[in-house]
Symmetry: C2
Subunit: 102 residues, 2 copies
């Protein structure tokens, strides 16, 4: 599988516009074949700094997402609200193992 | 390396108490040997639902964190504010590769 952490720093005055627009992208993306999860989170310590935690079945699924119509259509919106270039880091990973606490 | 996603659902009226207390844990944890990153994020779609995105050099570093004094001391606080048992999933992973957009 593939784990992707996409860090997005948004202009503070564009935060709500970004969150609302991203909700549509996330909804469509989570319906794609091979997308295991695709969730937007905001840093608790640094408002308007976000991470998208993305999990894909494999590299092909990730490529299919990045070249999808809905993702490509979202890029102009993203570039209009970001305060810095996005940092997208992918990791080849093994399937998750649940860990008990304590 | 190891990637850990720890999902924590907090009682809404305990959200601020949780975020403030977690800041101290995150600060100490990020100084541990072998901790590459340890960051608390809140779901944009579901307030009071959090993920801790954790990256460790290896299994030993993760074990050292889970058995550390500061993490063990935080457990009673966590159990007092969580609305559901935490879900902690770890992945053996390769080092990240940065991906260019578009």
């Amino acid at each position: 599988m593939l784990i992707v952490h996409a860090t997005l720093v948004v202009q503070p005055d564009k935060r709500d516009e970004f969150v609302n627009a991203f909700a549509g992208l996330a909804e469509t993306t989570n319906k794609e074949d091979g997308v295991l999860s695709y969730t937007l989170y905001e840093s608790a310590a640094t408002p308007s700094s976000f991470v998208v935690v993305e999990e894909y079945k494999d590299e092909d699924a990730f490529h299919a997402h990045m070249t999808s119509e809905h993702f490509q259509a979202a890029l102009p919106l993203l570039s209009g609200v970001l305060a810095a270039p996005p940092k997208i880091v992918k990791h080849e990973a093994q399937d998750g193992v649940e860990v008990a606490l304590g």
